[in-house]
Symmetry: C2
Subunit: 578 residues, 2 copies
Amino acid sequence: MMCRLLPHWASPYPRQHLGSDVLAGIIVTILVIPQSLAYALLAGLPPQTGLYISIFPVIAYALFGSSMVQAVGPVAITAIMTFSVLTPLAPPGSAEYLVLAATLALGSGLLLLAGGLLRLGFLAQLLSRPVISGFISGSAVLIVFSQLKHLFGLTSGSTDAWHLAGALLTETRIDASTAIGFAAIVLLAFARWGMASLLGKIGLSTTSTAFIVRLMPLFVVLGGTLAVIGWQLDSRYGVAVVGRIAEGLPGFQLFLPGLAELKLLVVPILLMALIGMVQNISMAQALAIKRRERIDANAELLGLGSANIVAAFYGGMPVGGGVSRSAVNVAAGAQTPLASIVSAFAMLAVVAGAAPLFARLPLAVLAASIIVAAISMIDLRALRQTWDYDRADGLAALGAAAGVCALGLEAGIALGILFSLATLLYRASTPHIAVLGRIPHSEHFRNVERHAVETIPGVLFLRIDESLFFGNLNAVETRLAAELDKSGDKSEEIRDVVLIMSAVNRVDATAMEVLSDINRDFAERGRRLHLAEIKGPVQDRLSRSPLWPALSGQVFLAVNDAFETLSGAAASGPQQEI
Amino acid sequence: MMCRLLPHWASPYPRQHLGSDVLAGIIVTILVIPQSLAYALLAGLPPQTGLYISIFPVIAYALFGSSMVQAVGPVAITAIMTFSVLTPLAPPGSAEYLVLAATLALGSGLLLLAGGLLRLGFLAQLLSRPVISGFISGSAVLIVFSQLKHLFGLTSGSTDAWHLAGALLTETRIDASTAIGFAAIVLLAFARWGMASLLGKIGLSTTSTAFIVRLMPLFVVLGGTLAVIGWQLDSRYGVAVVGRIAEGLPGFQLFLPGLAELKLLVVPILLMALIGMVQNISMAQALAIKRRERIDANAELLGLGSANIVAAFYGGMPVGGGVSRSAVNVAAGAQTPLASIVSAFAMLAVVAGAAPLFARLPLAVLAASIIVAAISMIDLRALRQTWDYDRADGLAALGAAAGVCALGLEAGIALGILFSLATLLYRASTPHIAVLGRIPHSEHFRNVERHAVETIPGVLFLRIDESLFFGNLNAVETRLAAELDKSGDKSEEIRDVVLIMSAVNRVDATAMEVLSDINRDFAERGRRLHLAEIKGPVQDRLSRSPLWPALSGQVFLAVNDAFETLSGAAASGPQQEI
């Protein structure tokens, strides 16, 4: 009984991991503080929200998810989505805005949970990697633009790239915030792209290098705060700071979203759930492969769904599986989700005790850390590589990126999904079909185009190498018609068609009807449709369909039986079927 | 040059068909008049609109479509869609309503035209037959409900089944209209379901029977009109009639849809284009199969698209390929689209001269003809058959029908599409994968589960029977991991994996990246990934990808080469690759 109540990783919990998990949990907490504040800001919410949702949602995910090391929390993509979806509906930071954000988290959480219960994890494959990568790159551009306001004192709150570009040209103000922001960008960019090799050169070990690099954002945040305190930058030079953070623990906020809000947010909730699912599952998978573990897509949905539902009531901002958060977790040595639970409690301690320390943290520093993180999300090399490898995939990636930049996040994802699905349908609609003949002196049948094989005049052996379903019947009909036409040219009219079903695992209702249509048409022209090598479950179904009693030809167990029977028939003229 | 300007069927036009085409054209015109008036009424437009759009749009389709006998015009499904989409936006029959209807026709026409030019005809397979049949049955129920107002004097214009049911309970008025309507329903139902067998029994030929049956709607319309004229039913008993129809030819109406209207109609336009496409292509295909002709889905889109664009400017109601219209056309002996062109000119003559005759046609009679047509669209037998054959398809059909009835047409289609796509993705995401071994003393490789074959300890031969793309990689990874795990249990750790790519026609960018990930992971564990029997075009692509130089194993032309090499390697220990 006890086992059933505990998550899989805790029954029994491997004692030897306790030390590393506790240490990793504490390190993660310290390192993700700047990021948590920054992403809440990006989402248009009070910065402390980012800390709050790093507590209970993290515990929920640890209990229900399947990944051992993935860390959930505020992430850039869901943050910018929240901002871009909600700004047209309410002023950022207003009470209404908070309720809408919580509704978004609740709605997508419920959807994800339902998806997990209904075992819809396979839907995470709805988007191809090029589309995801294009979407992320496009979002990163939007993120960078959205943060420029904190550096240049813009008043516009739009996420539209065009409006922002206009505001930059007319409203830009270079002041102390700009200076602090750019200093922070330079330091953070150096930490991310130059520091590691430099430290390596002066002889530091890889582990310490990685640790110092990861600590840099915290140093920058501390440095910025100390500068504000030391030189009174906020009161004297008007540098915008985080401001007083409500002290104490985050309370459970009971809220009931109105029907009107839900209706407004139906499409955003769907897209948020989809993006959350894709990002979370694909990252959990990448982490699991490296650690030789397995993740369960449906358990991931349960975990992410419950994390978002909890997030809705404690803070009210959607959460997701974070790339850098998880990387920190792995680098700090986490072995099981216990690390995440430890980090949740450590964060609780931070919120309870240390929150006032962030009051004079300059917004420009947070903006800088968002900008550097966003720039690192733009993967031009991957785009270039995709383009070189496959033009269609390259176009999809570019299309998704351009769609996000030009039309906004929602339209960009919708375009990406549509493109992916059209590709999928297009590929599924072109099954491989081969005309077969018999290899002389054998019972083997092979493609007539590739092998020297025997055929019977007037008999067509057609093998369909795919299950028959509504999406590919058109191709089957077209191919069949083409083969019949071809035979007409050679003036040896085909009287018998044998469909070889050895690779057909399923014949759906549409396919059964189309086969019935073909069979009826054949019967009217004195042609016969035979079926061979039907798999057991397919035959069970077909035998209770109207096709079965009406079949103009025979059902053969093996193709060779059909060949023998029909070559005899060809020699002795048409014969009656039973 | 001349040939390029004429449609394919007219270059050269087969002279021997001239007589039958002209006759068929004239018969079709006479027989479809009641239907055309009725469907315009169903769409909430002035009845004569139905006649107008049976002129120029028909010519446009004849010039650009590919079907020889399909007849386009006002159809029940697009009519009820028009009504249900537009009634919330403007009062039926108002000037604004007409502009919105024309915008709907124009928008879906442009989309269809673009679809034809971009060769997106394959998208017609987006919906499975059960979903289409469920959608049509559900729509038929809505259509019947929508017409009850003309029989029972209701004032509500809602398409919502719940509201209508309520109105029926509270507002129903039994009067002369009710009597005329029910008389018409009885006559039309008898014509459709009882008359043919009766006439057959008294010895009439099938052809004359079919002709008389098809004439019945016209007789009923004439009878109803004469009854109104003879007994002054309109002025004395308040029977609602069509009213004065503007005389003369329909003029070209220039209109420019506003951006606001377009924005409101984006989703309806998309759905209208989709439904139009599916209905038109599937019916054209059914007709073509019977006549041993071929249709070109993309040409159909061009034809239907241009017909709708023309319809927007001459009448302003979307058109589609009509089931009964086409049936009449075929039954009357049409051989080429010339029949449609003849019928267009004949309709022009009717509009010019005979329109005033319809002024006193009772609306209840038109409603009766719509109701009978709609009831014939409900195909319970097909639903039952689908349910028996395949529970999933049966549920999809029921879901689409129930969705349309409970949530309305748009939500019903959207549900149907989503269900179809989820099925598609689910099927595409489960490729067939087999572990192979060699049949002793041969170079043939077969599934180890079905044949007695030789294997090499520590070497896994895996054949993937499908192209690799973003939708099925998860299944491939899972299967690979499962096979590796299985080998771990047997304590013969697998060092070499040979992927047999003989059935892989394409490796998209996502698949290439996943293979690279697997290869990298293998390399880190001292495992090797080999590829065998790669098809030419796939190899061309892969060889310029990052996977190629990094491949931990070898590329083999034939599986047997791999078998020989690796069984040697197994005997002599791991060897270095070139």
